[in-house]
C-alpha cells in the first residue's frame, strides 16, 4: 500500500516494520513527530518522552543490551546532550539493534545553531545513514537496525528539516520482529567500561571500522548513476534531490552512508567521469575526505554556501558560476517582515512585561518565551541551550555587585527545566547562590507541539502518572524561598518578583498559566476586551505588550483629540476575533481606556 508520509512519519513506520520494541525521545524540532506518531499509531512499540536526550539514549541502551531493537530520536543539539553515553556506547556496542535518529536543522528554522551532525559519526566511530526522502527514511531505519546487529554498533540515521517535514510517497510493508531474543545475560567485559575492558573494546571499535569500510563498498544504497560523463556529482541526503532537480543528466554517486566512505567506489567514480563536484549542505564533510584521498574536486564549498539550507537555485548557481542567470524579480519593494510572535493571551507576555518594566537582566532559555527577546518586549538577554538560564543567572550573580545582583533573574520553561534545569538549581542550593529563578509553567512542551512531560501528569499515551511539583523539588534542592504567581496579574507578579530579588537568598518562583493554545484543556476563554475610543490617548503602552490582537490606528481631524481634550495621533484597536480576554492590556492602561467584557477582569485562564 502506498501513502504520502512526512519523513518523521516514515521513520516511525520504519521502526514499526523493523520490529522495534522500545522508542524514547525528548521533543525537538524537526524530530518531534516521530515519537508522536509511534505513540499514536504503533501500540506494539513501548514509547516514552524522556526528560532529556541523554536519558532517552541510556534507556534505549538498556533495552538493546538485553536484545530489544531500540530507537532513540532527537534534534541535532539533542545529540550534544546525549554525547556522553553515545561515545562510550560506540565501545560497548549492542545486542539488539540501536538506531539514533538525529534531525538536523540547516537554516536554523527552529534552533539555536545549525551544527552538522555528520561529524558525530566520525567522532564516535559509528556508521551514519542519510535518507533523501520519506521512502528512504523508512528503509534506512530498517537497514540501520540490520547494520547495528551485524556489526555490533549503534547506527545513526541523519534527517534534516526538509526530510523530516516533507511528505513523499512511501510503500508500506508488514512488521517483522527483531532477530535477537530478549533475555538478561551478563557480559561485563562488553558492558562494564572499566579501563581494563574499555581498552579491549576500543580495539573492537577499530576492527569494526575496517569491516565497515569493506561493507560500504558494496552497500547498495551507495549508488552510482552514470549518465553524462562530463560531470559527476558526489552527494548524499536531501542535497541529492536538489542536484537531480536542476541537473538530471549528470552522473551521480549518491551516498546512502556518509560515514565511513567507500574509498574504492569513489575512486571508480573518478575514473568514470571527467570532473567531480561535491554537493552537500553545511560543512565540507564528504569533500574533505575525498580530497584527503588525493582526488581533486572541481566544485565544492568554494561554490556552494557553508551556511544555511541548500536549495535547487543555490545548487544551480554554484554549478553554473558566472553563467548563472537569476530569475528576474517582478516586485522589489521592501515588505514588513512577519516574524513569529507570542500568541494573543500567552501567559509569558505578562511576566516579560513586568521584567522589562523592572529593568531586569533576564538569563533566558529555549522555548516559545525566547521570542520575548524580540521587539517590542525586548526582555530576554541570554539564550544558549536547554537549562543554561539557571547557570547563567547563578554565575552572573556570583560576580556582580550586590545592587546589580538584585536585577538578575533566570527564566526557564517547565519542560526545559525538567530537561536540564534541575541540576543547575541544585548548584544554586548547594553553592549558596542568591539568584531568583522563574519557571514559566504553561503545562506543556508548547513550542514543539504540546507534548507531555514529567510535570503534566500524563504519559506520551495520555495515561495519568506521577506529576512533579516544582516547589517541592525546589525545597529539597535547598531553595529557601518558594512562590507561585499568576503571570496575567501584573500587580501580584511585580510584587513577588520585587520581593524575591531583594533577598540575599535563592528564590524559586513558579509563574503558572496554561498555554493559551491548549484549546481542549482550558476551562474557558473570556470575551474580548475593547477600546474606549473617547479615552484612549494613543500612549502606546498596550501596544508595547506586542499582543497580535492590539494594533495602532492613526487618527486625524475631530478624532485627534480625546473626550478630555488631549491631543493624540492615533488610538489602539483590539481585534475581537483574536482577543481571548486575558486581561493583561486592561491592567497596563493608565487611562481606563481598555474595557473588560461585562465590566469584570479575569486574570488569564485555568485548566478544566
Amino acid at each position: 500500500m502506498k501513502k504520502v508520509l512526512t519523513g518523521n512519519e516514515a521513520i516511525a513506520r520504519g521502526a514499526y516494520e523493523a520490529g522495534v520494541k522500545f522508542a524514547a525521545a525528548y521533543p525537538g524540532t524537526p524530530s518531534s513527530e516521530i515519537l508522536d506518531t509511534i505513540a499514536r499509531e504503533y501500540e506494539e512499540i513501548y514509547a516514552e518522552w524522556s526528560p532529556n536526550e541523554k536519558i532517552a539514549l541510556e534507556a534505549a541502551m538498556g533495552a538493546c543490551f538485553v536484545g530489544a531493537r531500540a530507537l532513540v530520536c532527537m534534534k541535532h543539539v539533542g545529540v550534544n546532550v546525549a554525547a556522553d553515553p553515545l561515545l562510550t556506547l560506540s565501545y560497548t556496542g549492542v545486542k539488539g539493534g540501536l538506531v539514533l535518529l538525529t534531525a538536523d536543522d540547516p537554516e536554523l528554522y527552529s534552533s539555536q545553531n545549525e551544527q552538522d551532525n555528520r561529524h558525530y559519526a566520525r567522532f564516535a566511530k559509528i556508521p551514519m545513514l542519510e535518507p533523501s526522502d520519506s521512502q528512504e527514511a523508512k528503509e534506512f531505519v530498517k537497514l540501520g537496525f540490520a547494520i547495528s546487529e551485524q556489526f555490533d554498533t549503534p547506527v545513526m540515521v541523519r534527517s534534516v528539516t526538509r526530510v523530516s517535514h516533507s511528505k513523499t510517497i512511501v510503500e508500506l510493508e508488514e512488521r517483522k520482529e527483531g532477530p535477537v531474543p530478549i533475555e538478561i545475560k551478563k557480559d561485563p567485559s562488553k558492558y562494564v567500561m572499566l579501563p581494563v575492558y574499555g581498552r579491549q573494546r576500543h580495539k573492537a571499535v577499530e576492527e569494526r571500522y575496517l569491516k565497515l569500510k569493506e561493507f560500504v563498498e558494496d552497500f547498495p544504497e551507495n549508488r552510482m548513476e552514470i549518465n553524462d560523463k562530463k560531470v559527476g556529482i558526489i552527494t548524499s541526503g536531501i542535497s541529492y534531490q536538489y542536484a537531480k532537480e536542476v541537473f538530471p543528466d549528470y552522473s551521480y554517486l549518491k551516498l546512502g552512508i556518509c560515514w565511513p566512505l567507500p574509498d574504492k567506489l569513489i575512486a571508480r567514480f573518478f575514473q568514470q567521469v571527467e570532473e567531480v563536484y561535491v554537493v552537500e549542505e553545511l560543512d565540507p564533510f564528504i569533500e574533505e575526505s575525498v580530497k584527503a584521498m588525493g582526488f581533486s574536486v572541481s566544485k565544492g564549498k568554494d561554490c556552494f554556501p557553508i551556511r544555511g539550507e541548500l536549495t535547487p537555485l543555490l545548487v544551480e548557481k554554484g554549478i553554473m558560476g558566472e553563467r548563472f542567470q537569476p530569475p528576474k524579480p517582478v516586485f522589489t519593494e521592501e515588505l514588513p517582515p512577519r516574524p513569529p510572535n507570542l500568541c494573543p493571551g500567552c501567559p509569558h507576555r505578562g511576566l516579560f512585561h513586568v521584567l522589562k518594566k523592572g529593568k531586569f537582566f533576564v538569563a533566558g532559555d529555549i522555548g516559545c518565551y525566547t521570542l520575548a527577546a524580540l521587539p517590542p518586549l525586548n526582555s530576554l538577554d541570554t539564550c544558549v541551550c536547554m537549562g543554561a538560564s539557571i547557570g547563567h543567572a547563578h554565575g552572573i550573580s556570583k560576580v556582580v555587585s550586590k545592587d546589580e545582583r538584585k536585577k538578575v533573574v533566570g527564566v526557564i520553561g517547565d519542560s526545559t527545566f525538567l530537561h536540564g534545569g534541575v541540576t543547575p538549581l541544585m548548584d544554586i542550593g548547594y553553592n549558596k547562590g542568591t539568584a531568583t529563578i522563574i519557571i514559566l509553567d504553561n503545562h506543556a512542551t508548547a513550542m514543539t507541539g504540546f507534548q507531555e512531560h514529567p510535570s503534566t501528569g500524563f504519559t506520551i499515551r495520555g495515561e495519568p502518572t506521577h506529576k512533579v511539583d516544582f516547589l517541592e523539588l525546589g525545597k529539597v534542592l535547598g531553595i529557601k524561598n518558594l512562590k507561585k504567581v499568576n503571570p496575567w496579574n501584573v500587580e501580584e507578579t511585580e510584587k513577588v518578583i520585587g520581593e524575591e530579588t531583594e533577598k540575599d537568598e535563592p528564590s524559586l518562583i513558579v509563574s503558572e498559566g496554561p498555554c493559551v493554545m491548549l484549546r481542549e484543556a482550558i476551562k474557558e476563554y473570556h470575551k474580548p476586551y475593547s477600546i474606549d475610543a473617547d479615552r484612549c490617548t494613543g500612549c502606546r503602552v498596550c501596544l508595547n505588550l506586542g499582543c497580535p490582537a492590539i494594533s495602532w490606528q492613526a487618527v486625524s481631524g475631530d478624532m485627534a483629540i480625546t473626550a478630555e481634550g488631549k491631543k493624540r495621533k492615533g488610538i489602539a484597536v483590539i481585534e475581537k476575533t483574536l482577543c481571548p480576554g486575558c486581561g493583561l492590556c486592561h491592567q497596563v492602561c493608565k487611562f481606563d481606556a481598555i474595557i473588560p467584557p461585562e465590566g469584570e477582569v479575569k486574570y488569564g485562564f485555568e485548566l478544566a
Binding site: H165, T168, P326, P336, R338, C343, T370, M447, T448
Partner: protein, 195 residues
Amino acid sequence: MENAVTNILISGVGGQGIILASDIMTEVFLESGFDVKKSEVHGMAQRGGSVTSHVRYGSKVYSPIIKQGEVDILFSFEELEGLRWLNYVKPDGVILLNDYKINPPAVNLGQVEYPGDIPGIIRKRFHKFYLIDGTGLALKAGNIRATNVVLLGAISNLFEIEETLWIQTILRHLPPRLHEVNKQAFAMGRAQIKA
C-alpha cells in the same frame, strides 16, 4: 500544464490552516496517480509568522521545494504573504489570492503601513489572477475556520481532477460535525472560478 511537474506554493500566516490544505492537495494528487512531494517548516516558524508550503506533482518529482521563479500557482491565504512570494512565480503563472489582511507586528505598532492595493500590484504583473473572498464566504457557510476549504474549492478548478475526490479527501480530515459546513464551503469556493 505542459511541463512535467506542476509547482504550487501556498503562503499565509501560521494558524490559517495552510498545512491541512496542503495535506489535502497532496493526497488528491497521489490518488490521481501522480508522484507528489510537499514541504513546509514547523516549530518556532509557525507562531503567527509567515508560513509556506510547497506542493509539487508530476510524473517524477525530485526536490520537495520549488526553485525560485518556477512556481506555476501561487495560492495565498493572506494578501501581504501573497506579495512576499511574487518573485517565485513564473511570468505566466497563476495567482489565487484570499482577499484578507492580517497585520504583521510592525504594522500593528504603527511603524509602517500595510502595503496598499495588493490586488492591483499583482494584476499589473500577472494576467492569470483570481481574488477570492475566502474568509467572507466561509463566514457565510457558517464557520470562519472553513476559509481554507473555500479556497481549496476555488483552486480545485485549476486541475482536471474529479470534484468528488476533493470532497472525499477533505471530509476524511474533518470530524463528522464539520462535514456539512465544509461541503458548502467547498461548493462556494468552487463556484468562484471558471477555468
